[in-house]
Symmetry: D2
Subunit: 133 residues, 4 copies
């Protein structure tokens, strides 16, 4: 599990006065990048080294409560599946004591040309150590 | 069913050379606004008249294939559920002959203060005529 | 001069109830891509053929009036300078009879590695025919 | 002067492999919000208390160098003009030892209805203490 905190940007609000629902998608990405730092690598280094991107093939978001400009959002990110062709992360987004959303992203390891490829074994093993924690 | 076409904006691409996964969320919103025009109203007029917003409470996206800058995206939008407290839309996104993504959004009719409210009966009936079409 | 029309997306609004100032930057990009279509090419084809991108090196925006969700924005785009290392576009953004903003972007033709390069002579000549029109 | 640091988000990159030019506009907004925290208030508290927004009426950006995903961006923000109807901020954006962009935003204090109003005297005096520092 990794923990990310960020503040709602003014540009991320909409005319309803709360953060637009698409902003949460961006926040999960920030959180996922933080998660990868735990492995002693970074998403940037991983992409450079392997030529592999973790393309998003699925996205689920359940919104519980609106959040406002400048609110501090806390994101807990967990790896819940790590197979050679399918990586899944779960996210719990909260503000103060309240859960504001839950999310899940499914990833397909992909080459620079966009072809699905296998996740390198060394990375899979590294990820397995962090599974469901 | 309504049909929306749009082109992938340059700003919507990312360093993988394809549209970022969050862009599809914005496109579904554009398509949903188009769907509402079918009712002989518009989302803007609906919000002004009723004080109600169709807040997004759920989002599902399944990505099949990347799309590139300037690609024309065709979105078929269908209303699949229209209850007083829950409105659901399905989306089929394609480029040329290929399905590029499927999406679903769940909406909770909400007041200007963000409270869940009932969808006005007149609108529910109007929507019911377009259900699953 | 080319003419682009688009509608303000819901996601482009902010909590002030009008389009966020960064949205205009995206709209100018859409308008610029439309301008290039006049040349009998497209920005996508130009990039593929030449390996050159028109990287933005300068941006000026003067906002006159806010615009709302679903407003139709009309953008007149003019090429005002076309040198081998510097391309400049002017934009006039209006809604109904009102000017809502004026903008200018300066571009440096750049290679895929981000190095400044000279604009190919054939394209410069093509552009010159459309200068200040 | 205030100092803000942030990292380039993956979603902020484009197919040229660097941050899209519109991202800098968002970063300046984040930096401006940080600047206001120096006054012992926050932009959120200021808006709630006064009903005034610092609407952006002008924007200038000069880009010097591209920045990549995950790069740490450092933003120095300075208030350079504070009149009752015109507030101006300058920004210096750098990455490691390099200046990557300079920016300026001009603001018109505006009511909730979008009318230009005078900045309250107390805030003007508070801002004057931080002018050009």
């Amino acid at each position: 599990m990794s923990l990310t905190t960020l503040r709602v940007r003014f540009a991320e609000t909409d005319q309803m006065g709360v953060a637009h629902h698409s902003s949460y998608v961006l926040w999960c990405e920030v959180a996922r990048v933080d998660w990868l730092n735990q492995l002693g690598t970074s998403y940037k280094a991983f992409e450079l080294e392997t030529g592999i991107s973790l393309a998003v093939s699925g996205l689920r978001l359940d919104y519980r409560q609106g959040v406002s400009f400048d609110d501090e959002i806390r994101i807990e990110t967990r790896l819940v599946e790590a197979k050679s062709r399918r990586i899944v992360f779960d996210y719990l987004l909260s503000h103060e004591a309240n859960v504001v959303a839950r999310a899940q992203t499914v990833h397909t390891p992909s080459s620079r040309l966009g072809q699905a490829v296998r996740m390198p074994q060394a990375y899979l093993e590294l990820m397995a150590e962090h599974l469901n924690r």
